[in-house]
């Protein structure tokens, strides 16, 4: 999704490769994230789509099914990801996410602390904002959700920018090692008024 390698530039000009994450666009509110694999197929109301037909085509291409129906294959961005990710918790959407990032004055290189990770919707956008030299330390008190979030960040390719910890921030606060280092802190907690 992002270029953490400073020598390469973010360019959608590349073609789809085996193992890439693509966003399959049927229409505005029907989209799905799919991991491309030589041997897989996608089946929907338009027919059967072989992934092997996708490999080598540019992102943004229209691809056909066996029945002649079509979908578009888009390159993932944090916005598209927010719309297709699986909801383990209630998530933040683009309107709030975009406003937050401007308000927190997050720029490349920033160190950001977040609690709770939830489904990683905001986290993915935070990763984009701090890339390539910054980092997001995000925490959730739920072990399984933290693990699912880690998996998602690997699929979307932002795992080098995000570290997920399992911790109850409300009860314990952020780890001391970040004391005095964070550029921005975002809190989305359950019982805010009991914070000290």
């Amino acid at each position: 999704m992002l270029c953490s390698d400073g020598t390469k530039k973010l360019s959608f000009g590349g073609s789809i490769k085996d193992g890439d994450l693509v966003i399959v666009y049927e229409k505005r509110d029907v989209m799905k994230a799919v991991k491309v694999s030589e041997t897989s197929v996608l089946q929907n109301r338009f027919g059967v789509f072989k992934h092997s037909n996708w490999i080598g085509k540019p992102f943004g291409s229209k691809v056909l099914s066996n029945k002649g129906g079509f979908v578009y294959l888009l390159a993932p961005t944090p916005e598209l990801w927010t719309l297709v990710l699986s909801h383990r918790t209630q998530i933040l959407y683009i309107a709030d996410i975009s406003f937050l990032i401007t308000y927190l004055e997050i720029v490349p290189g920033s160190l950001v602390l977040e609690s709770g990770t939830g489904s990683g919707s905001l986290t993915t956008s935070l990763a984009r904002a701090v890339a390539p030299t910054g980092h997001v330390y995000t925490f959730d008190f739920h072990q399984q959700r933290a693990a699912s979030a880690r998996e998602d960040f690997q699929s979307t390719g932002v795992d080098s920018l995000v570290t997920v910890g399992v911790r109850d921030i409300q009860g314990e606060g952020f780890p001391d090692e970040y004391s005095g280092l964070a550029d921005s802190v975002f809190l989305d907690l359950v019982l805010l008024f009991t914070l000290h």
Binding site: L2, C3, G6, T7, K8, K9, L10, S11, F12, G13, Y25, R28, K57, P58, F59, G60, S61, K62, Y72, L73, L74, A75, T77, P78, E79, I94, A95, I97, S98, F99, I101, T102, Y103, E105, V107, P108, G109, S125, R128, A129, A131, P132, T133
Partner: protein, 361 residues
């Protein structure tokens, strides 16, 4: 909170305060501190004790603003610059409210190491905000324009960018960016048409800028007409531009960069052009984007965006098209007094966003 006081006995006849302005001036001359003046005003007010606790606090804060003001100096950021201009000179930024600006940055996937194409007719606020998110490193923010005169982007200087980031901010006229692999005769109409319109409309403005403002150093650099003869002399531009401490943002894009953009396309496009037609810009600029690149177009009014959206759909140039209207409400947050502010901005403009697609089959 048990509050029994109310305003039934308060008469607004300007007689409650016994200290006169001469008394206050005298106190100031004697070097009395602001906080002490405030205490004096409170103790000399006949009605202060009769006010509710909230009212007393409001009174105190009002006096503090006048006699003991406090300011907090902060590093400028896209947010603070946008908010300041929106409050004071909104027309200069095309009424682009901070939440609309934030949406543009997100919807267009602005990030480090990317090439972002901009049409910034909002004084440079957009350019600065995009550059802030682009950071140093590789990639560019390229400001493009119809005709031969770039739009003024003075506000970029307010961001205090260092040299590394300034280097990322470049400009190129649309006709230089247009894809013309099949020869000059194939250039889109707009490129040729605007060349004529641009040079006839702009010369007076450019001259005025050159002669007038010695303070807007970067503006002078950028209003020099960019034809081939001037291209050479621009590098040895007037001494005034060298004397400024401001690093140069907004230099002409290098041939190398332009070539790379023609080959790979830009990774996103943002248009904030209140005085231009959205569709005429979009139809010429979308071809310059990579496939699957997102774009976002801001306009103060809905109709031009609706027309643009319709045309993009007809021409099958983009998908995921949507028009958003950002909404922002500010709250006062105080114990027992949390409520929206009494006035709210209702006109933050609209944004048309979408993703460019490959029209090949």
């Amino acid at each position: 909170m048990d509050e029994c006081r109310d305003n039934r006995a308060l008469v607004d006849n300007n007689e409650a305060q016994t200290l006169t302005s001469e008394d206050i001036d005298e106190m100031r001359r004697q070097g009395v501190k602001g906080d002490e003046i405030i205490e004096a005003l409170i103790s000399n007010s006949a009605t202060y004790e009769k006010k509710t606790a909230f009212s007393q606090e409001k009174y105190r804060i009002k006096k503090q603003k006048k006699y003991a003001p406090r300011v907090l100096l902060r590093r400028p950021s896209a947010r603070s610059i946008c908010e300041a201009y929106f409050k004071k000179y909104p027309h200069r930024i095309g009424f682009l409210r901070v939440d609309a600006l934030s949406l543009l940055l997100s919807l267009a996937n602005v990030t480090a190491n990317s090439d972002i194409l901009l049409v910034d007719m909002v004084g440079g606020l957009l350019t600065g905000a995009v550059a802030e998110r682009l950071g140093a490193g590789t990639g560019y923010v390229c400001n493009t324009y119809l005709g031969s005169s770039p739009y003024p982007v003075d506000m970029v200087r307010t961001f205090n960018f260092d040299n590394e980031i300034c280097k990322r901010i470049v400009r190129a006229p649309l006709r230089d960016l247009c894809l013309d692999q099949t020869g000059t005769s194939e250039k889109p109409d707009a490129c040729n048409a605007e060349l004529n319109v641009g040079t006839s409309e702009k010369p007076d403005a450019s001259n005025a800028e050159l002669n007038g403002q010695t303070s807007s150093i970067s503006m002078e650099e950028m209003s020099l007409p960019s034809n081939h003869e001037a291209a050479d002399s621009e590098t040895t531009v007037s001494p005034q531009s060298k004397m400024g401490k401001t690093p140069k943002a907004g230099e002409k894009a290098s041939e190398e960069a332009i070539k790379s953009w023609k080959e790979n396309g830009f990774s996103s496009l943002i248009i904030a052009a209140p005085d231009a037609d959205a569709w005429s810009l979009a139809k010429d600029l979308l071809p310059l984007l990579s496939y699957s690149a997102p774009f976002a177009i801001y306009h103060q009014y809905l109709q031009p965006l609706a027309t643009c959206m319709h045309n993009l759909q007809q021409g099958k140039m983009a998908i995921g098209l949507q028009i958003s209207e950002p909404w922002l409400r500010e709250y006062q947050v105080l114990p027992s007094r949390t409520h929206p502010l009494m006035q709210m901005s209702a006109f933050g403009g609209y944004i048309l966003s979408g993703t460019k697609i490959c029209s090949c089959s």
